[in-house]
């Protein structure tokens, strides 16, 4: 039965006999339709960008090549996102659109974390506090304008022309008030985010900034970042 579902090759189910073929077809159709629906649901803007026919052709190739392994269907889109660049090698942005959609999807069900708020600022010992990403937080590094294309598609606007970025584009993804969100960040902010962990105090991060930009600039910059993160609900307190 597994071979039948994975390939549709009737040799795998010849023992069932001809009379079983209508039933076998139902199982095959259920299997493939479920996976196709799963990918459709996970990558709505990647599908719009590629066009439904191209997207579905690629999805069908992927379904034939890589069966699901995990008990949850929610794990299946990750394998597709990893293959989009191979499935559509001539498309400049499709793989990064898929990567962004996967990160947004993962953020939706990531572990809940209490976000840092402005009200918490005065109660924290800033000599000791360390920060971490808010729920679902991660940084993506893109080489194209996929994020701007995603934003245009999400507003049902005509997307910009796809192009390679002159420098890598860092995108912060997280969940705020149950909704996944993202914004493009500069290299400093991306680096801070990637470094965040419970063992690294925020003052240590500020010290690194000071080495790059000088103390006065870095203090002002750290203050602005903290305020922005609190407003965005983008970080949480890891340890105090």
């Amino acid at each position: 039965m597994r071979g039948w579902l994975e390939t549709g090759n009737p040799d795998y189910v010849a023992d069932f006999g001809d009379a079983a073929q209508p039933g076998l077809n139902v199982y095959l159709n259920n299997y493939r339709t479920q996976l196709l629906d799963c990918l459709d649901h996970a990558f709505p803007h990647t599908r719009t960008w590629l066009g439904s026919d191209r997207f579905h052709a690629g999805a069908r190739c992927h379904i034939m090549a890589q069966p699901p392994v995990a008990w949850t269907l929610d794990a299946y889109p990750a394998s597709f996102a990893a293959e989009v660049g191979t499935l559509f090698p001539n498309d400049l942005v499709a793989h990064e659109l898929a990567e962004l959609e996967l990160a947004l999807s993962d953020a939706q069900t990531a572990a809940d974390r209490l976000p840092l708020s402005r009200e918490m600022f005065t109660h924290l010992d800033w000599e000791q506090v360390s920060l971490t990403h808010a729920s679902g937080g991660q940084v993506l590094r893109h080489t194209s304008n996929a994020a701007k294309i995603w934003s245009a598609l999400s507003r049902a606007e005509i997307p910009p022309v796809p192009k390679t970025a002159e420098v890598p584009i860092d995108i912060l993804v997280w969940r705020s008030d149950w909704a996944p969100c993202f914004r493009i960040v500069d290299a400093d902010e991306a680096e801070i985010f990637m470094q965040m962990n419970p063992a690294l105090r925020f003052v240590d991060i500020c010290a690194q900034l000071a080495q790059k930009h000088g103390e006065e600039v870095s203090i002002a910059r750290a203050g602005l970042l903290l305020a922005r993160w609190a407003d965005d609900e983008a970080v949480s307190v890891a340890a105090t």
């Binding site: 039965m1 597994r2 579902l5 994975e6 069932f16 079983a20 209508p22 039933g23 076998l24 077809n25 139902v26 199982y27 259920n30 299997y31 479920q34 996976l35 069966p67 699901p68 392994v69 995990a70 008990w71 949850t72 269907l73 929610d74 939706q108 069900t109 990531a110 572990a111 809940d112 974390r113 729920s135 969940r175 149950w178």
Partner: protein
């Protein structure tokens, strides 16, 4: 006492959360809430505040020859501990072997060997969950010549060996009967109703050569008749309408639930019922 509820899907959450719709219980799909956090779990907890919840799974795969996925069951246990559900159920089927998960409910041959495998897995699952589970009779699109006993007999023996309960899906009986050529009334007459804790009522579609358990149509008259017959032999059970696709406004499902009450009452008046 018979309970009447719905398979609650996202389009109808607000109807329940607003208090506009009162249900004896709501059944939700376990795997949709087995996440570390986020909105789904918050929604489930909010529903749980309004009415008892039954958790219905599709991924336990009690028929897998490769063994029970203990990580899956432990995650389910974590959800059960939070929700304290009315019932925890899954299907008599297999969905998984190493390196492959079908995400579809695949059929089993009803042999003593398979009964032993399923019994071991049900025992293990109940041990991890710390409670009884219910198993649902699946819709079948093919049968196995190797089967040594009818499905009802297999399920009856499974209950006797493991202490599990049953979820009788009346629509599945009808779909399987039409597809495999047996008499659904005969199946219901033999079904071990004393072990039934929950009943599903649903709709189906006509496929190319077989009926397909699509849960996208209203319940048909033949399934209502079968439900009424089943209720003449049922003890206290939780009855619900299951609709997963082509989901209508909740009023249509409540109309079907009213029909379920009427049919259950009719069964009771036949003098043998709940």
């Amino acid at each position: 006492m018979t309970l009447f509820g719905l398979g609650l899907r996202k389009p109808h959450y607000e109807d329940v959360l607003s208090g506009n719709v009162q249900l004896d219980f709501a059944e939700l799909i376990s795997e949709n809430f087995m996440f570390p956090g986020g909105r789904p779990l918050a929604d489930l907890l909010a529903v749980r505040e309004k009415c008892p919840v039954a958790l219905h799974g599709v991924s336990m795969s009690v028929g897998s020859v490769s063994g029970l996925d203990r990580d899956y069951v432990q995650r389910l246990r974590a959800l059960v501990d939070v929700i304290d559900p009315l019932f925890v159920s899954d299907h008599l089927c297999w969905t998984r072997v190493p390196g492959f998960s079908s995400h579809d409910l695949l059929p089993l041959p009803y042999t003593q060997e398979v009964l032993d495998i399923v019994s071991n897995h049900v025992h293990a699952a109940q041990d991890i969950l710390g409670r009884q589970i219910l198993l649902e009779n699946p819709s079948a699109y093919l049968g196995f010549t190797e089967s040594e006993m009818p499905e009802w007999d297999f399920l009856s023996k499974l209950c006797a060996q493991t202490g599990c309960g049953l979820l009788l899906d009346v629509n599945n009986v009808y779909v399987s009967a039409r597809n495999l050529g047996f008499d659904p009334a005969d199946y219901i007459a033999h079904f071990p109703m004393a072990d039934v804790r929950q009943i599903h009522i649903a709709g189906h579609s006509q496929g190319q050569d077989v009926l397909v358990d699509t849960h996208d149509q209203p319940v048909c008259d033949a399934v209502w008749d079968l439900f009424e017959t089943a209720m003449t032999r049922a003890g206290p059970v939780a009855v619900m309408i299951e609709r997963d696709n082509n989901i209508p406004p909740i009023g249509e499902l409540l109309d079907e639930l009213a029909m379920a009450r009427a049919r259950a009452d009719a069964a009771a008046k036949r003098g043998l019922g709940h």
